[in-house]
C-alpha cells in the first residue's frame, strides 16, 4: 500500500529533486539572487522547469483519472468504499490542478521550490487516508473471493463423488483433483490470513494463486468430462 504514495509522489518529486540537483547549481546557487527574484539569466531555466513540472503533473493527473475510473468500474467493491477511494484520489488530483495553476503563475525558482514542498506535504498528509481506503477495498474483494472459492470447493467435492461412480476409468485424474483440493483449502486459509494482515499486494497475490489453481482444476474436470462423454 505504501507503493501508492511512493509511486504517485515519487515520480513527481524525484523528478523535481533530480531536476534541482542537475540544474540546481545554475538555478539556485548561481542564479537566484539573495533577494530571491530568480529572474534574469534564470528566466530560461524557470520557463523550462515550469514546463517540465506541468508535464509531470499532467501525467500524474491522467493516471489518477484512470485509477478513479478503474475503481468506479470495479464490480466487487462496495459503493461506500469506492466513494472513499475515489474521493481520496480526487483530493490529490484537485491539489495537483491547483499546483499546476500556481506553477504557471510562479515568477521565481524559489517560489516553485516552495510550491513543490507544499504539494509534497499535502500528499504526505493524505497518505493514511488513501492507504486505508485501498485496504478496505482489498479486504472486500478478498472476502468475496473466499466465499466464492469455498463455494467452488464444495461443488467440486460433490462433482467428484458423482464422477467416481459415472467415470471410474478416470479414477487417477479424479484422485489427482482431490489432492489439488487440499491445496485449494490451504490457499483459502492463506488468503484469509492475508485479509487479516490488511496487505493489499498479498491479498491480490493469493486471490490470483487461487484463481490459477481453480482454472487448473477446471481443466482437469474437463478432461474427465470429455473422457467419459458427459455432455454439458
Amino acid at each position: 500500500m505504501k507503493k501508492l504514495f511512493f509511486e504517485i509522489v515519487a515520480p513527481i518529486f524525484l523528478c523535481v529533486v533530480v531536476l534541482f540537483s542537475v540544474v540546481g547549481d545554475v538555478a539556485f546557487a548561481g542564479n537566484i539572487p539573495s533577494g530571491g527574484s530568480g529572474n534574469g539569466s534564470a528566466g530560461g531555466t524557470l520557463a523550462w522547469q515550469k514546463q517540465i513540472l506541468m508535464a509531470i503533473a499532467d501525467v500524474a493527473i491522467k493516471k489518477l483519472d484512470e485509477a478513479e475510473n478503474a475503481v468506479q468500474m470495479n464490480t466487487v467493491i462496495s459503493s461506500s468504499t469506492k466513494r472513499a477511494i475515489i474521493a481520496s484520489l480526487q483530493r490529490i488530483e484537485d491539489r495537483l490542478v491547483t499546483y499546476k495553476t500556481q506553477i504557471a503563475q510562479a515568477t521565481t525558482l524559489a517560489e516553485i521550490q516552495t510550491l513543490n514542498q507544499q504539494v509534497g506535504q499535502y500528499i504526505q498528509a493524505q497518505k493514511n487516508g488513501i492507504i486505508n481506503a485501498f485496504k478496505t477495498g482489498f479486504a472486500e474483494i478478498g472476502a468475496a473471493a473466499i466465499a466464492k472459492a469455498k463455494n467452488f470447493e464444495a461443488q467440486l467435492k460433490a462433482t467428484l463423488a458423482l464422477l467416481k461412480v459415472v467415470c471410474p476409468q478416470e479414477l487417477t485424474t479424479i484422485n489427482n483433483i482431490e489432492v489439488q483440493l487440499a491445496t485449494l483449502a490451504s490457499n483459502i486459509v492463506a488468503l484469509n490470513v492475508a485479509i487479516q494482515g490488511q496487505n493489499g499486494a498479498v491479498i491480490s497475490q493469493k486471490i490470483n494463486e487461487i484463481n490459477t489453481l481453480i482454472q487448473h482444476l477446471g481443466a482437469n474436470i474437463k478432461t474427465v468430462q470429455t473422457s467419459c462423454q458427459i455432455n454439458l
Binding site: 504517485i8 489518477l64 458423482l162 481453480i214 482454472q215
Partner: protein, 74 residues
C-alpha cells in the same frame, strides 16, 4: 390325460418363469441404463455449476488486479 395336464402345466410354469425372468432382467438392465444416464446428467449439471463458479471467481481475480493497478497509478 393327467400326464398331458402335468406337461402343459410344466410348460406354462416354464414359460411364465421365462417371461418373469426376462421381464425382471430387462427391467434391471433398463434401470441400470437409466440410472447411468441420470448420473451422467447429474454430473453434467454439477460440472456446469462448477464452471459458472469458476468464471465468477475469475471475476474476483480481475477485480483484485484492477484495484492493484489503481493502487499504483503511476
Amino acid at each position: 390325460m393327467p400326464m398331458l395336464k402335468s406337461k402343459t402345466g410344466l410348460v406354462i410354469v416354464v414359460v411364465v418363469a421365462l417371461v418373469v425372468t426376462g421381464f425382471v432382467g430387462v427391467r434391471f438392465v433398463f434401470k441400470k441404463f437409466t440410472s447411468s444416464l441420470r448420473s451422467k446428467e447429474d454430473a453434467a449439471a454439477q460440472i456446469r455449476a462448477l464452471n459458472k463458479t469458476l468464471n465468477e471467481y475469475n471475476g474476483y481475480s480481475n477485480s483484485a488486479n484492477q484495484l492493484n493497478n489503481s493502487n499504483t497509478p503511476l
